[in-house]
């Protein structure tokens, strides 16, 4: 088998093979592979986005907290812009010519990236400006107006808990691939938590471009278009009126008020002060610097992010644990001579009758009593050593929700802090600490950090006599039933039978002899409360108060935490009781109550709050 190829034929054969390879390659990219056709179609079709109306946010009674108004964004497709009268456009929108120049300089710097796309030229112009533009739009080829919705807030309440909506940035787009540059999304509060329900679905109209990039008409007569689906409304558990009232009370004070309906776990009000005014939310970009430069940090949602020592309020927790552990009973009495002394440790107390029983200890908020209670819990013979008993104590505390996130739908919730065995092993050395070393835990001081939401939830737990629903801000409906996390009762490790003793003590605190919460008495309401005064290294004590009412079948549980407000009875108790009164009675009783209201509204505590240099 021998064949001979002349040099000519060899060359012809090689050339033929080369051309064959080219032909095969052409066949594969032109006929077999579909990807190039799709890419080309994307290049040649123009998708104009239709933005859906964002859903409204309603309060628990159906009042509108947030709704929409129409504004217009002026878009520009740099490649299709022809010569236009810069001054005319400046006149319509009230701009400086430099602004236009800068915009177009940035477009040409990113020309390749933009391609035939449209870039935002001016955002949220008023309808008057839009009308002026629309009349003369033919003078400005390449410019386009796109209808957008902007948020409006009919009630001035709940800036922090509603949160703001703003244009998505690059990080956001990376984390949420469905979003494109120019879209808006909820960034904080409810707007963020329920973004997927509120935002709706974008639609688009498909236009066909001719070879010069001009819109030729509807692609496939609109068959390829997609209509926008408006976002759904959400109904919150918030009482807008109560929220607004609470914000008035909290004016010029730093702190939080959280009110919960105990039987449902629904959050009635969630106030962080100073807060963000709703009028600033709509134009958050404009006010962003002002807000973030405010030394009291209005962005910071104290209700779920500010974890601080709870003070005497925490005595109730230790009381409940003592009862469950069997080291405490109603008639257990301890003496108090202006405090508790053991060895070198001294915990001071105020003057009150002595000795006293459990309800009295709550009513009078005796420090010494709870030093005994904590030591009895820690030094219980049941447990081999302090570490074991401490761990048991910690288990009880966390079962109330302290020390971890409750799982509410308030964004950026923090877990707070309950110390662990390790905390003290590090502090004192392993085996070198005892019940006396951690005595400050008995009165809610020391290494404890609880958010106001924790305290309100704890108060609701007492109101319910031993259980709570995870607090939440959203109401369920047919389409979106409530998340099961909010419909399951949580039971702390303390039996229901021990709670009435605590309730009795809280009731005595408001009405009994020597009670610390007398200021919280509300006409016609059987109130239960507990004051707290949290020492802190930054100035005056924090004023703390939790209360619920009525005593039987409670309708509302409130926690108030007023930073640097002094005694619990000074600021927190009046504010919390006014909230209860407003909610249950609808109005504030004339006389001492309105005077109290006046004092609270006029109260100015900002100068007492140390301004810390904030980390950037």
């Amino acid at each position: 088998m021998k064949f001979y190829l002349s040099k000519r034929n060899t060359i012809l054969l090689v050339l033929f093979v080369i051309f064959l390879i080219i032909a095969i390659r052409l066949f594969s990219i032109q006929i077999v592979d579909k990807q190039y056709r799709e890419t080309a179609a994307n290049n040649a079709l123009k998708y104009v986005t239709i933005y859906p109306a964002r859903g409204r946010i309603l309060d628990r009674y159906g009042n509108t907290l947030v709704e929409n108004k129409i504004t217009y964004d002026i878009m520009v497709s740099p490649r299709t812009v022809e010569e236009f009268d810069t001054l005319a456009i400046c006149k319509i929108f009230g701009l400086e010519p430099e602004f236009v120049k800068e915009r177009f300089a940035s477009y040409s710097a990113n020309a390749r990236k933009i391609g035939y796309g449209a870039m935002p030229f001016l955002k949220q112009v008023s309808s008057e400006q839009y009308n002026a533009f629309a009349e003369r739009a033919y003078l400005f080829p390449g410019f386009d107006a796109v209808a957008r919705t902007a948020r409006v807030y009919p009630i001035n309440a709940g800036g922090n808990l509603i949160g703001y909506v703003s244009e998505v940035d690059r990080d956001y787009i990376e984390a949420h691939p469905d979003y494109k540059s120019g879209d808006y999304a909820g960034k904080t509060g409810l707007e963020r938590a329920y973004e997927s329900r509120l935002s709706g679905e974008k639609g688009y109209t498909v236009y066909y471009r001719d070879s010069r990039g001009r819109i030729k008409g509807h692609y496939e007569d609109g068959a390829a278009d997609k209509e926008a689906v408006a976002g759904g409304d959400i109904t919150t558990t918030i009482d807008a009126e109560l929220q607004a009232y609470g914000e008035q009370l909290m004016k010029n004070k730093v702190g939080s008020v959280v009110a919960i309906e105990p039987s449902t776990g629904e959050i009635l009000t969630l106030i962080s002060s100073p807060g963000i005014d709703v009028n600033q939310l709509a134009e958050i970009n404009k006010y962003y610097k002002e807000i973030s430069d405010n030394p009291y940090n209005p962005m910071f949602n104290r209700t779920v992010q500010s974890a601080q020592p709870p003070g005497s309020v925490f005595k109730l927790v230790n009381g409940l644990i003592g009862l469950q552990e069997g080291v405490l009973s109603r008639e257990t009495r301890y003496p108090c001579s202006r405090g508790y002394t053991s060895g070198s440790v001294h915990v001071g107390c105020h003057g009150h009758p002595s000795p006293i029983n459990l309800p009295q200890s709550i009513a009078m908020s005796c420090n010494a009593y709870y030093c005994y209670v904590l030591r009895n819990i820690m030094d219980n013979r049941k447990y081999a050593n302090i570490e074991e008993s401490f761990n048991k104590w910690r288990e009880y505390v966390t079962s109330f929700g302290f020390g971890h996130k409750l799982g509410s739908d308030v964004p950026y919730e923090l877990g707070g802090n309950v110390p662990t065995v390790n905390t003290y092993n590090k502090l004192h050395g392993k085996g070198r600490w005892k019940s006396l070393s951690i005595i400050s835990l008995s009165i809610g001081q020391g290494e404890l950090g609880c958010t106001p939401l924790h305290l309100a939830n704890f108060c609701a737990t007492i109101a319910n006599r031993g259980w709570f629903y995870t607090p939440h801000m959203i109401k369920g409906d047919d389409k979106y039933p409530l998340d099961s996390a909010y419909t399951v009762k949580n039971y702390p490790m303390v039996d229901a039978k021990y709670f009435p003793l605590i309730v009795e003590g809280m009731n005595m605190s408001v009405y009994g002899d020597g009670g610390t919460s007398h200021v919280a008495q509300v006409p016609g309401v059987n109130m239960c409360g507990k004051t707290g005064t949290a020492q802190n290294p930054h100035g005056d004590d924090h004023s703390v108060f939790i209360c619920f009412a009525p005593k039987d079948n409670p309708k509302i549980a409130v926690a108030a935490y007023i930073e640097n407000g002094g005694f619990g009875a000074t600021w927190a108790a009046p504010i919390a009781s006014l909230i209860v009164e407003k909610y249950l009675n609808g109005e504030i009783a004339e006389g001492t109550r309105t005077e109290l209201e006046k004092r609270v509204k006029n109260g100015y505590l900002l100068n007492k709050v140390p301004v810390r240099k904030r980390k950037r």
Binding site: F19, I22, L26, Q30, Y36, A40, N43, S211
Partner: protein, 478 residues
């Protein structure tokens, strides 16, 4: 009158028709890329209007060459023309205009010329002159040097102009040397060297060695005319080589084995090659081809390994980067990768029959760069589809094959050699240009003969072809 008609009839009309169709088709596509909706194809303010002027100039020049100038003038003036173009190339280096990073244009009034385009003609003429001398043979160093330096001189000058693409065209002349007696093995080895180098870098040394080994086996057995045995050895070897790395990756084997697949293949192949070389030298000193084949195989293995080592360990980052850019492995700052992608999108979106004249969206929307010059084939692929692209390919094949066949049967060596030169110039241009637009070749900016916008290239290719048509016409009258 009658005689004149006869003489027209004896022109090679196949070539001329192919040429005319290509030129007209190119002009149409340039118009399609650039026109507005109401564009006038004769608008001289536009590039397509300018191109029409160049077409006229080219046609007149071609007519002059074929009808007026005597055929023998090219052989007698080849050295003068060659010298003139070399001077022009040097002048360009000094006086030239920069464009797209290369300095290859020379301005005469409002006309701009690219001397590099014309140097292909003069080099072809000089090559033909040298090699067609009576008794010339490509054997012996002095003769080879005689042929090679006229090639290297313009190459060097064009390289200095940073017109890398045009230098590659000169590689095509190797085929002419092959036709004129140079050993084909030299070209084959040269080709394999380049292939191995590219494979090593863009795939892996293992793939490069496998390809090299397979080619060796096929060539070795083909030379011994043991075709069946060759297949019986090669096919199982290739299959085994494909699965070899996977076998090594099996856990039990991987635990024992310390060497990579590359190392195993290199060691075993080198050992076998060495064994056979020694054996050949001692026992079959006459079997030079087999011995040399094994030596080439051994050198190939060493070459692959040293390329890998050089590339990874010796080269600096910026040098590596330059190679990567050349091979199209990374985007260069001008966005070659982006260009290639858009070019393939344009061609790929054409489908079977294309989008129709003037309806291409990708090319005319400006997604494809250099769309009327180097990337003109994109417009053809997009607007005329697979059919249009095949049509253009068919025209080129017809033209090139026709040139080679007529050249090969010419009685005059000058005509033959010059014809091969023309055919190879066109081939290399077509292959590099189209290959680049469809991702077979790195992006190298050279025009598509007769189709691309650009006066110098069109005129140069026209002159080149016209000279051959004239020589061939003259041939038949002898």
């Amino acid at each position: 009158m009658n005689k004149r008609r006869n003489s027209y009839r004896s022109l090679d009309w196949t070539m001329i028709v192919c040429y005319l169709v290509l030129v007209l088709f190119g002009w149409l596509n340039i118009f399609s890329v650039l026109h507005g909706d109401s564009g006038n194809i004769f608008d001289f303010g536009q590039k397509y209007g300018m191109h029409f002027i160049w077409i006229c100039i080219s046609l007149i020049t071609g007519f002059l060459i074929i009808r007026v100038l005597p055929a023998n003038i090219w052989q007698s003036t080849s050295w003068i023309l060659y010298g003139g173009v070399i001077l022009l190339l040097m002048a360009t280096l000094v006086l030239g205009v920069s464009s797209h990073g290369s300095q290859s244009w020379i301005s005469i009034g409002s006309f701009r010329l690219q001397p590099a385009e014309f140097s292909k003609i003069t080099t072809s003429l000089v090559l033909a002159t040298i090699m067609s001398k009576y008794g010339f043979s490509l054997k012996g160093m002095p003769n080879i040097i005689k042929v090679v330096w006229p090639l290297l001189l313009p190459m060097a000058l064009i390289l200095l102009e940073k017109e890398t693409g045009s230098v590659l065209v000169y590689v095509g002349f190797l085929v002419v040397l092959y036709r004129e007696g140079m050993s084909g093995w030299l070209i084959a080895i040269g080709f394999m060297t380049v292939l191995e180098f590219i494979l090593t870098i863009i795939t892996s040394p293992y793939v490069a060695m496998c390809v090299g080994l397979s080619v060796f086996l096929l060539v070795f057995f083909a030379h011994r005319e043991e075709y069946l045995l060759g297949l019986l050895v090669t096919v199982p070897t290739v299959v085994f080589l494909i699965f070899f790395p996977k076998i090594l990756a099996i856990e039990g084997i991987a635990a024992v084995n310390q060497l990579s697949a590359d190392a195993w293949l290199a060691i075993i192949t080198a050992a076998v090659a060495l064994f056979f070389i020694v054996r050949m030298v001692i026992r079959f000193p006459r079997k030079r081809f087999e011995r040399n084949a094994f030596i080439v195989l051994l050198c190939g293995i060493l070459f692959v390994l040293s390329v890998q080592f050089l590339y990874n360990n010796i080269l600096q980052d910026h040098q590596r980067n330059r190679i990567d850019v050349f091979l199209g492995l990374v985007d260069d700052p001008r966005g070659v990768g982006y260009n290639l992608h858009q070019s393939m999108v344009a061609i790929g979106s054409g489908g079977f029959a294309g989008k129709g004249f003037g309806n291409g969206t990708q090319t005319s929307l400006g997604y494809v760069p250099e769309q009327e010059t180097d990337f003109i084939f994109c417009t053809i692929g997009e607007e005329w589809g697979f059919l249009g692209a095949l049509f253009v390919l068919a025209l080129y094949i017809t033209l090139i094959f026709r040139i080679i066949i007529t050249a090969d049967r010419a009685k005059d060596a000058f005509t033959r050699i010059y014809g091969y030169c023309v055919a190879m110039c066109i081939t290399v241009h077509v292959f590099i240009n189209i290959g680049m637009t469809i991702g077979l070749m790195p992006v190298i900016g050279i025009p598509l003969p007769f189709l691309s916008y650009g006066g110098s290239a069109l005129l140069a290719f026209t002159i080149m072809l016209a000279i051959f048509v004239k020589l061939e016409f003259n041939e038949r009258r002898i």
